[in-house]
Amino acid sequence: MLKYITKRILVTIPVLIGVVFLIFVMLSVVPGDPLTVMMGEKVKVDVIERLTKSMHLDDPWYVQFAWYLWNALHGDFGTSYKLMRSVSSLIANAFPKTLMLAVTAAALSWVIGIPAGIISAVKKNSLVDHLFMGFALCGVSLPAFSVGMLLQNIFNGILPVSGFASPMHLILPALVLGWNAAGTIARLTRSSLLEVLEDDYIRTARAKGVAPLSMIINHALKNSLLPVITMMAIQISSLLSGAVITETLFSIPGIGRLAVDAINGRDMPLLQGTVIFTTVVIIGGNLAADILYCVADPRIRVEGGK
């Protein structure tokens, strides 16, 4: 298993470099001179020259890329054109907010999604099943901002609908994100459990005289949650990478909002920094999902398997 994980980690390195490269190339073709964006139109020529030199802007693109990579490895993603602060500190500032939101939403989705999926599978084709699955499907079928606006509308005056000042501010955005995530989790849990219940070893358990409830808890659940665990890890990493829409709608100064501001302000270093940060989070999440799967599944965990 160690070998597998090592291999898996090594594979992510070219992906990371590719991501940085891609974002670098894409942003370098964006129209507009970065210095004009940064300083405005009226700047002294010698200032421009000095800055151009210090920022390696007159070097060929591959030298710029190399410099960027080198600095990024040292945690230096440059300085935001617009905000005049180091990108790293901006990210460090925004991330805790995104983290809190992500954790709340994820917890909400697990607490609701997994039991709902299990109940739906056990009571397959019952009214409860249809209700739960309809609710879950609505969660993945509505755009986040529609749900968000609706909630803002309904809870206007009852709960804070914008900003990030207290835990209360978290409730609505977490509901928006959590509904969507819970929908995915519930659907996956249900289908996976139903599939497992058809397996041969469930028949074996029935032949042993195991009662239906114990069958689901002791025999089916462990197997059926394997794909759900993977999905949970992937989901939390995507939540951590910043819920762009929700953060914009609820004016939460998190990572997603930072990225949108960077794009709107043509703030290249900030955009590069946030995108690289989020991709690292996503890649890390996928890696964690794989490792979790290995740990949870004895077929991979224990050596000697075929």
Binding site: P14, M26, C138, S141, A144, S146, L249, A259, V260, V275
Partner: protein, 324 residues
């Protein structure tokens, strides 16, 4: 083992136990033939795609209803100009923010435009954005996936490329593309196609990997059929059922992505409308004029729900083991 010669003597013994009206050999042959033909007529044939669809309509009422809903929606969207007398972009400040009434079924927006009319016309963008980028991205994904699965030398490169695309937060990637290229409908197609192919490629690759080991592909290879012919003539048709399902389930994703882009201001540009744009335009007025928010949201919800139901139904009959 036991005495088979005993068994062999069965015929001899049976001759003694005469059945009154024995068959002549010809008669028996005929009777057997008739029974076998009868049998063959009842042999279960593998269901054709059409039969599978029919059985889905019979058994999965929700999926069948979804197909009908989608057909109706497509119809009224395509014939929008015949169905409503309003101009979707006509500003009428005398009639701003009117609640739903007989004249304006879904009310009017902040510029006095009829919301129902704008939903019909906006549906054109949403429908196009659902179908076109999904088609393009799936075509790219199919080729990439098959090449990756069949030509081992290219596997690692293509899959890392797919990993890179999948590692990006997709909205941010789409936003960057839209910013680089400019916010037009065509560029939405390009942005969404660039993002969407990777998922399809992964699925097609895994199917290709298992199909290439099967006998009929090995037989074709043994006969010297060319690589590309094998891929497109032998492997692709076997992936098709799951691709149909995937297509149905990818369209809602594209529609939602366009809505998100429009919300962030880099999707469809005013005065054109799409459902996503209409919802985001309702932001300021959501409290005072909730119809501006509710009706376009409903339009998105109904279309996406119907597509999801249809996709799930198709998957159940076509490809029950596929997972998304």
């Amino acid at each position: 083992m036991a005495t088979f010669e005993q068994a062999a003597s069965l015929a001899a013994r049976l001759a003694v136990d005469s059945i009154k009206d024995q068959f002549s050999p010809e008669e028996r042959l005929e009777a057997i033939k008739k029974a076998e033909e009868d049998e063959l007529n009842y042999m279960p044939r593998p269901d054709t795609l059409r039969e599978k669809l029919r059985s889905m309509c019979r058994e999965n009422k929700v999926a069948a209803a979804s197909a009908v809903v989608l057909a109706v929606m497509a119809f009224i969207i395509v014939f929008a100009d015949k169905l409503t007398s309003y101009d979707p972009n006509m500003v009428n400040l005398m009639e701003r923010l009117l609640p739903p009434s007989r004249a304006h079924w879904c009310g009017t927006d902040d510029l006095g435009r009829d919301i129902f009319t704008r939903i019909l016309y906006g549906g054109r963008v949403s429908l196009l954005v659902g179908v076109i980028p999904t088609s393009i991205s799936m075509m790219i994904g199919i080729v990439m996936g098959m090449v990756s699965g069949y030509i081992r030398q290219l596997d690692a490169v293509i899959m890392r490329l797919a990993d890179i695309v999948l590692a990006f937060p997709s909205i941010v990637l789409a936003m960057v593309v839209m910013y680089t290229l400019g916010a037009t409908t065509t560029n939405i197609f390009i942005a969404l196609s660039m993002i969407g192919w990777a998922g399809t490629a992964r699925i097609v690759r895994s199917q290709t990997l298992s199909l290439r080991e099967q006998e009929f592909v090995e037989a074709a290879r043994g006969m010297g059929v060319k690589k590309w012919t094998i891929m497109f003539r032998h492997i692709l048709p076997n992936c098709l059922p799951s691709l149909i399902v995937l297509f149905t389930l990818n369209i809602p994703d594209a529609i939602l992505s366009e809505a998100n882009l429009s919300f962030l201001g880099v999707g469809t540009q005013p005065p054109d409308s799409s459902w996503g744009l209409m919802v985001s335009q309702a932001r300021t007025y959501a409290v005072s004029s909730p119809w501006m928010l509710i009706f376009p949201s409903l339009a998105i919800l109904i279309m996406v729900l119907a597509l999801n139901f249809l996709g799930d139904g198709l998957r159940d009959v076509i490809d029950p083991h596929m997972k998304k």
